[in-house]
């Protein structure tokens, strides 16, 4: 789960990390009467780059006009009208501090730069400190790291304390990423987290019963399309993107690969289907139903179905699909691909399944490359109709 700034900072506060005073303002419920010109107005989103997008601004001489400008920018992007109103902090420089997983080292790392702020990726000169796999560290172990990284002497002690608290948060909250950027340095050498984001491990959610981030949840929901929300309610995952083929696959790797093959052939997959974590067994029917409706769109040229079954019985899936093809013909040309292991061929072979689909009048193949090349041939010979 991705946390927005407000929720990530609430975690920082809980671990004793310094953050500016702030309040949350939901413009759909209340509009502030007055605002201090020095306060910082920050739209709450789950994506970065808010400053460049005009979604974070100093209130300035006309605070309510600034507020309205951010509200308008949010409305234009159809995002929830929720802002954080934060007290301004005077600072002399900006650090970057994060704890993230390093998939090569197999452990988390502390990342630090004295060059924090925007464009950290380009000009950050980020230094890393590998943590042990049980994610524990003592302040004294970090002293040489921060000195080496060029942090000024008077900030070293505070940095070590903040970093160990951040590591504790990362471990105890089952985080996979927590990032403070910038970590502002005041003229007196105090440190204060001006922005923060975090990602928590959904797989560990069961042991954080009662921990609730309603705003981040709301922002995540707002990001979903109606169809994506419907998929979630039916216990599977749908990711939509602009495209011209409704692609129905199962398995993350296979879905990405077939989507690549479509792109290579000049198509663009409009959907990515996957199983949801801890989902109950059968969602095939609901997926097909959704696929048929998505294919009604004028942008869609075809539906491609491809599955590789290793253990699940293929017969009920194929029979269900045949029934649907008969009862409700697909709104766009339908292409079928299936491979299966003999375990999945309990009562029907993959070959028989392909023959049955072909007999119903739809192209059916064994390999995804064959399906895609048939689609390209049909498009190029005008058989697919034009969506343009």
């Amino acid at each position: 789960m991705d946390l927005c700034e407000w929720d990530a900072k609430s975690l920082l506060r809980r671990y004793g990390l310094p953050v500016p005073n702030a309040r949350l303002c939901d413009l759909s419920k209340d509009r502030p009467e007055e605002l201090s010109p020095s306060s910082i107005l920050k739209a709450q989103t789950l994506f970065g780059g808010r400053g460049k997008a005009g979604l974070v601004r100093r209130a300035g001489s006309e605070p309510l006009a600034t507020l309205d400008a951010i509200a308008a920018a949010l409305a234009e992007r159809r995002l929830p009208q929720v802002l954080m109103i934060e007290e301004a902090t005077e600072f002399s420089s900006e650090f970057y501090l994060s704890v993230v997983l390093d998939d090569v080292a197999g452990c988390p790392v502390i990342m630090f730069s004295t060059n924090g702020g925007v464009d950290i990726e380009e000009n950050g000169d980020v230094k890393t400190f590998p943590l042990p796999a049980d994610v524990t560290v003592r302040q004294q172990d970090l002293v040489p790291f921060f000195i080496e990284a060029g942090a000024p002497g008077k900030s070293i002690g505070r940095l070590c304390r903040i970093a160990t608290d951040l590591v504790r948060l990362f471990r105890n909250e089952d985080a996979v990423m927590v990032e403070i950027n910038p970590l502002a340095v005041t003229a007196e050498g105090r440190l204060i987290a001006l922005d923060c984001k975090a990602t928590l491990d959904d797989s560990a959610g069961y042991r954080h019963e009662g921990r609730d981030f309603p705003l981040s949840q709301r922002l995540a929901d707002a990001r979903l399309s109606d169809y994506e929300r419907e998929a979630r309610e039916n216990h599977f995952v749908l990711v939509q993107s602009p495209g011209d083929v409704v692609l129905v696959t199962a398995g993350a790797g296979l879905g990405m690969m077939v989507s690549d093959l479509l792109q290579d052939a000049g198509f663009k997959a409009a959907t990515f289907f996957d199983n949801a974590a801890g989902a109950p067994g059968e969602t095939a029917e609901a997926r097909l139903d959704l696929a048929w409706r998505l294919a009604e769109s004028d942008d869609i040229k075809a539906i491609m179905f491809y599955q590789a079954l290793s253990t699940r019985d293929l017969a009920p899936r194929v029979l269900g699909l045949l029934e649907r093809l008969k009862a409700a013909p697909p709104p766009k040309p339908f292409y079928f691909g299936l491979s299966a292991s003999f375990v999945a061929e309990k009562t029907m072979t993959a070959k028989a399944a392909r023959e049955a689909i072909a007999a119903a009048g739809y192209p059916a193949f064994e390999f995804p490359e064959e399906v895609v090349s048939q689609m390209a041939a049909d498009r190029d010979s005008g058989k697919m109709g034009s969506a343009d």
């Binding site: 199962a250 290793s310 253990t311 390999f367």
Partner: protein
């Protein structure tokens, strides 16, 4: 000879009563795997599918001389099961569970490495050495005995690549699906090194994805690899910023995109192909098969 699993390996099944284990035990045996027992706490001295069942890994190892384990323990307990195996002399383990909390798995995998245990997974479909044996969940019928090593994050893509290779008559020494999680037991480069040392492997196929630094690490290590390496990297068409299924399949920065990985691997001398069929063709032509 293949890699990791040997003909003489003695295999136990942790959480032997699970539905997954019940589905796969017969298939593993039919593929040639020598399964010598199962573990299910509280069910010691019983039998299951003809296998002796033990209360603990320690007892199973003591009684059977097992050196390999297939761990079907569910996500919330898989880390402890890995540690249990590592502490009791198991040298090779496959962990099947998907959605294991990363803060559990990370120290367990580090411990396993210290103990010298090789972990495939978690979230892995396992290992198939056609004609020799299978561990976990790869369909043996998709493989063909031969001399190509295959290693992939994704289970479905291991299957897709196996099918394409087999369809073109390109047999495999060993195929491994190690899972799409960010933190895993052993990384692609470690498998590639094993294949490079294996006298029965002539070339290596790597299937990768967007997200993380594992493919970049492989590219950097290519100087020490003597055999030809082929790769397919999926997620070239993935929408920016959305996680596609696998926990590890999210490009967090420009170096983790498919395009960046493909460029690095190409520069390092890897033959990068766009599809399983194209990969199989490239391998066939290069190896004169």
């Amino acid at each position: 000879m293949a890699i990791l699993l040997k003909r003489e390996s003695r295999v136990i099944i942790q959480n032997v009563h699970s539905a997954y284990a019940r589905n796969m035990i017969g298939q593993m045996q039919a593929a040639g795997t020598n399964i010598v027992g199962g573990v299910a706490p509280g069910h010691g001295s019983t039998e299951f599918l003809g296998l002796p069942v033990f209360d603990t890994v320690a007892e199973a190892v003591a009684q059977t001389g097992a050196d390999t384990s297939v761990i079907y323990t569910p996500a919330f307990a898989v880390a402890d099961a890995i540690v249990d195996a590592a502490d009791n002399g198991i040298k090779l383990a496959v962990a099947a569970a998907e959605h294991a909390p990363v803060h559990d798995v990370m120290p367990a995998l580090a411990h396993a490495r210290e103990q010298g245990m090789w972990v495939i997974g978690p979230n892995a479909l396992g290992l198939l050495s056609p004609g020799l044996g299978m561990l976990c969940g790869l369909p043996p019928a998709f493989g063909t005995p031969g001399r190509i090593g295959l290693v992939s994050r994704s289970g479905t893509l291991t299957i897709a690549m196996l099918r394409a290779l087999s369809a073109q008559g390109v047999g495999q020494s060993t195929a491994i699906s190690f899972g799409g999680d960010s933190i895993i037991g052993r990384r692609p480069v470690e498998y590639v090194r094993e294949f490079d040392k294996d006298p029965e492997t002539d070339a290596i196929v790597v299937v990768g994805e967007i997200g993380g630094g594992k493919e970049a690490e492989l590219a950097e290590a290519m100087g020490e690899i003597s055999k030809p390496v082929f790769a397919m990297i999926v997620g070239r068409s993935a929408p920016e910023g959305r996680t596609l299924g696998h926990a590890g399949a999210l490009a967090r920065n420009s170096s983790e995109t498919a395009a960046a990985k493909i460029a690095r691997l190409r520069d390092a001398g890897v033959t990068v192909c766009p599809s399983p069929m194209a990969t199989a063709t490239a391998v066939r032509e290069r190896c004169g098969l």
